[in-house]
């Protein structure tokens, strides 16, 4: 009887995921094993692992590594900036500050990412007024690797509001009395935050980090708009295969590899976090 209702409640969602994600991804996995015939519109006969083998070349491993490296840096930064931001938005004694910060975060969520990325190109690009600031990160604005800085900035602009809002939820769930209690025991405010609040918020911090990482590695517009053709994410490689040269089997192989890696990293990291920070 009870089992019955659970089944009915879960069935629509699971069915939808099976149909619209499971089915297509399985089809894609099959496609990735087909040979590609250059210049032809049809896949070849038989089966092959060549598209996966190709990805083991050092150059392609570098693309995977670059995607994850930039993703990890940006997720870390968004946690470092997002936590104080969220904390201020929840605990600032001034209502105007709280409201202003929340309005900014919600506002950014509503604003189109494309428009924001374009704004970043104008502000931080090699002609932008902020370019000298960006150059402090080690690459002159005209250097090809400055594109990495640009893509990182774009991704951070994308993840930071999301991370901060998630942490607003986390911090709000924690009672301010905890810090007051710590203070009454003689701890300074920053002490109280570090020793009491942060451990309690750890699961929220971990999940915000993972969401940010997932957002970065599957993002595709930031490298497209800001990458100058030099910063190539695996998503961009995939897109080129699918859309520009019509090599579906190879694009499918990259997609499947990326999917497996993303799951391994995200679930691996969350398992690790669960071990380090017991709930």
């Amino acid at each position: 009887m009870k089992r019955g209702i659970h089944l009915w409640l879960l069935a629509p969602g699971l069915l939808l995921l099976a149909m619209l994600m499971g089915g297509p991804v399985a089809l894609l996995a099959l496609e990735s094993l087909k040979p590609f015939i250059p210049g032809s519109m049809r896949p070849g006969e038989g089966w092959t692992l060549a598209h996966y083998r190709e990805l083991l070349q050092p150059a392609y491993l570098v693309y995977f590594w670059e995607t994850f490296r930039i993703g990890l840096i940006v997720s870390t930064l968004s946690l470092l900036l997002g936590a104080p931001l969220a904390f201020a938005a929840v605990r600032s004694p001034r209502a105007a500050v709280r409201k202003g910060l929340l309005a900014l975060l919600v506002g950014l969520l509503v604003m189109s990412l494309i428009a924001r990325l374009y704004a970043i190109e104008m502000a931080w690009g090699s002609l932008g007024p902020l370019a000298p600031l960006g150059a402090l990160l080690g690459f002159a604005p005209r250097h090809p690797r400055y594109a990495e800085v640009l893509v990182g900035i774009g991704l951070l602009h994308f993840t930071l509001p999301v991370v901060a809002l998630m942490l607003v939820g986390t911090f709000r769930a924690l009672s301010p009395r905890l810090e007051e209690a710590a203070a009454s025991l003689g701890a300074t405010r920053s002490d109280a935050v570090v020793s009491i609040l942060l451990p309690l918020a750890a699961p929220g911090l971990v999940s915000a980090f993972l969401v940010a990482l997932a957002m970065c590695i599957s993002n595709f517009v930031a490298p497209l708009v800001l990458g100058r053709g030099v910063v190539v994410f695996t998503t961009s490689l995939m897109y080129t295969r699918f859309a520009d040269i019509g090599n579906y089997p190879s694009g499918a192989a990259i997609g499947i590899t990326m999917l497996i890696l993303a799951f391994l990293v995200v679930y691996g990291l969350s398992a690790l976090a669960r071990r380090l920070v017991p709930r």
Partner: protein, 367 residues
């Protein structure tokens, strides 16, 4: 359900189409019902010159023209349409030689004839792509080219007379080049020819390209017209390899020199135009042919090519003054221009792209 929900936007467009029809007044008013055509065009100046031509056509005929923009190179449309074929809504696709070859191989294109499209009589036979039975398959609108060139206001020192000079330190980080998908790899062919190769002997091109990338000469890799135009307008890049249309937009703003007469290398010529797509709706295909024919007529052909810096194909059209650069006399044609095997190139783009990803991008990134 989805259709019902989606309909307001469609109705709005229909309404606009109707209004446009009425604005024309006169006899036009008598035929408000026309075909809806989906035409794929390049962005930048291409779409800017086409939109008013399309609006006039809508007023005159009652047909409705919806423009779709190529995202990146024209080849991308082939990749995007493949899974959908034959259920594709596009009626006309602006494309050029390699893309024509790919679409012809797929059997997507409708043959064109002078009886249906009288303006084709005024276009020399040599410009058409033909199928195995010798039927004309394309509507050639322009003769365009791809060349090296540079902004003379930014390049100091001796002028560029050979692309070997691009290895000099003064061009470090100054080169703007297309990805191999774009222009179907003409950049590589150009570099290969500099070192004694061609499209079928491409290896020397890779070696030259690697040298350029290793020395940090390549500052920017672009994937479409607007990226090239913007990159070359910004002022941090001074040399590029690109098509005449992109160059024309840069030349409108800054002094440029196109290297169309290099003593030790050649420029490339190709045809751009429309492919008429096969379709189930015969009336719509006929309307698409009428619209393409309109572009082939001398006055529209002149107007279309003017801002693109390309040569008109209709013998009665007037070429733009700007194309003097690529207007070769017959004896020059042999010396300075080259028409590679575009069909062969389009079959190599996949392999070239991977090689670019594995060998060139890592070098370019190092700067």
């Amino acid at each position: 359900m989805a259709r019902i929900i989606a309909s307001p936007a469609v109705n709005r467009r229909a309404l606009l189409g109707g209004l446009a029809g009425m604005a024309g007044a006169g006899p036009v008013f008598a035929q408000p019902r026309g075909e809806q055509l989906l035409v794929v065009m390049w962005g930048a100046q291409w779409i800017e010159v086409c939109r008013p031509i399309g609006e006039e056509w809508m007023r005159a005929t009652g047909d409705r023209i919806q423009w779709e923009l190529h995202a990146g190179g024209a080849m991308a449309v082939v990749g995007r349409l493949r899974p959908l074929w034959p259920r594709v809504p596009q009626n006309l696709i602006a494309a050029w030689d390699p893309v024509f070859a790919a679409m012809m191989e797929a059997g997507w294109m409708e043959p064109v004839s002078e009886t249906e499209m009288p303006a084709l009589r005024e276009i020399p036979d040599a410009f058409f792509k033909k199928d195995a039975q010798g039927r004309k398959m394309t509507v050639p609108l322009s003769t365009a080219g791809a060349f090296w060139g540079y902004r003379t206001d930014l390049v100091t020192g001796p002028p560029i007379e050979s692309i070997e000079q691009l290895l000099e330190p003064r061009f470090r980080g100054k080169l703007c080049v297309p990805v191999p998908v774009n222009l179907s790899g003409l950049l590589l062919v150009s570099l290969a020819m500099q070192r004694g190769g061609n499209e079928r002997n491409i290896e020397p091109g890779w070696q030259f390209l690697k040298q350029l990338a290793e020395r940090g000469q390549i500052g920017r890799v672009v994937a479409n017209n607007s990226e090239m135009i913007n990159a070359m307008s910004a002022g941090d890049l001074s040399v590029a390899f690109w098509n005449t249309g992109g160059w024309q937009a840069v030349r409108d703003r800054f002094p440029c020199r196109l290297l169309t007469r290099l003593p030790d290398n050649k420029g490339f010529l190709f045809n751009e135009g429309f492919a008429v797509m096969k379709g189930e709706n015969a009336n719509r295909v006929a309307a698409a042919k009428r619209f393409a024919n309109h572009f082939a007529t001398a006055p529209i052909n002149t107007r279309y090519n003017m801002p693109l810096g390309s040569g008109p194909t209709n013998i009665n059209s007037t070429p733009a003054p700007a194309i003097a650069d690529i207007f070769y006399k017959p004896d020059e044609l042999e010396r300075f221009a080259y028409i590679p095997d575009y069909a062969y190139m389009s079959s190599q783009v996949d392999a070239w792209t991977r090689r670019w990803e594995t060998e060139i991008t890592p070098l370019v990134r190092r700067g």
